[in-house]
Assembly symmetry: C2
Homo-oligomer: 319 residues x 2
Amino acid sequence: MTTAVVWLGGLTGSTPAQMAPSDPLPSWNDGATKQAIVEFVSRVTTTDSPDFVPVEDRIATFDNDGTLWAEQPVVQGMFVLARLKEMAAADPSLNQRQPFQAALTGDVEYFKQAGEEAIMELLAATHANMTQEQFEQEVRSFFETGVHPTLGVPYTQVTYKPMVELLEYLRANEFQTWICSGGGIDFMRVISQQFYGIPPQQVIGSSIKTEFIEQDGKATIWRLPELGRNNDKTGKPVGIDLHIGKRPVFAAGNERSGGDIAMLTYSQGRPGASFQLLINHDDAQREFAYQESDNASLNAAQTNGWNVVSIKNDWKQVF
Amino acid sequence: MTTAVVWLGGLTGSTPAQMAPSDPLPSWNDGATKQAIVEFVSRVTTTDSPDFVPVEDRIATFDNDGTLWAEQPVVQGMFVLARLKEMAAADPSLNQRQPFQAALTGDVEYFKQAGEEAIMELLAATHANMTQEQFEQEVRSFFETGVHPTLGVPYTQVTYKPMVELLEYLRANEFQTWICSGGGIDFMRVISQQFYGIPPQQVIGSSIKTEFIEQDGKATIWRLPELGRNNDKTGKPVGIDLHIGKRPVFAAGNERSGGDIAMLTYSQGRPGASFQLLINHDDAQREFAYQESDNASLNAAQTNGWNVVSIKNDWKQVF
């Protein structure tokens, strides 16, 4: 391709636009980060490169909240609120009962006092005591009608365009793309194919316990009001090991809570080439600007030589 | 293809051998079971069929022990024994210490008395308190040198040829093939690609708990001496739901302990076409003959219309 472009360029006196190799990452500004991504992918997919990675090892894992879509507020939190409102409409006594009252009125102080038990009660009420099929239907309904509270658009439009391009670019280079998120595994699976081109079996997330039951003569999976696995922080490498069984060659996360440090460290520990990407939310104009109080993620990126995305500088377009 | 064969057949007076559609299941005898498999696959992959299943839903799950390879004795049990022998060679005091003594001398009565705790101690000694990489290396070593105790061949040769053909046939028809076994997930992952063409991320099995650690400056997964999830019986649909998030269109297991009844029931509960296969070990000459005391698996097959493989009658070749 390159040869043909050069040759035709010489012939016509300029590079014809229709012959230029199309940019696989058009929503990224040209710069060090984009260049590092393209160079890495080229390096690990070139058969005679010392860093060549065989196709079966081309595993890429992506955090979701703040990495693939906006997390201000966290979308699954909006789902919980929407479900609680529906439940309160059907049973108004919930408006006077804690922890529902606090959740419905946005009483953050209540949850600071009441702690994890109150959160678990909300989780149980909105995520458990139903079949897997019922839960999936509720998530689908939420996404069909839900609108982002501040951006004012359907949730399909709060995914980051540059990151969706990156997923497609990696897949075009025979990477298998995975989500590895602290969010609920069954929540994300409903939309992962439509939003990101990632099938449900390539989604790793936090889970509640389930059991196999036969109900009205039909065998199904029942969702129990009990936490299974927390797929955040050091839970992420554990989740990757459980679901994939090999270290990711490419891992991407974002700063906010230090949630992706362990996953990126685990990826970097693989023998052979690997790439770590950390998104810095520094664009208050086009998205949101927020930092960690201890700056742990950006410090780890600095120490370990991870590639930092500045949304402000690296992304031509955000959504 | 069919048209060309008929046409050439007419021309030459017989169907030329080189034009005959090649048999995708040559180790299966022609008969009801083989015919049912081929008809089902044709039905769900024909776009204008009412039973058409889109590629993304073509999930096939296979039990391993007794379904993909011989389970007399269970291979992972032989791994435990081999590890214990190595450990006893390094530390002869194990020969006088329970439960190691009982395991090393084949004292089945001891385990009937000592129960699950003794089994867990053996599991901890052979499967835990090491990194994931160390465990994988030990499994690899076992398969490099191990020989089946009664068949006298390497374990590569105790896989069932008809079932490996079936896996390949399904993949050729764009099914994604998975293992869903009561065996250890990390044990099977070491050989799943080589033995069955199934990558590690498509293996579901029983697991012990793990944690993420940083050891000598290297981040890794540490295996804890504690059971995580038991992927047998009703644990199988739970495992499929956790790892795949959708019901299998095709599910295969075998009779011995009732271990696959729940998985096959779960598969059959999907809306739309599905296929359940249950292997009956009825061939004492070429393999092993064994039945369940309560006949539960074969009874369930009868009640639910599952397809039963008679090894004696349906398989032209076993290994």
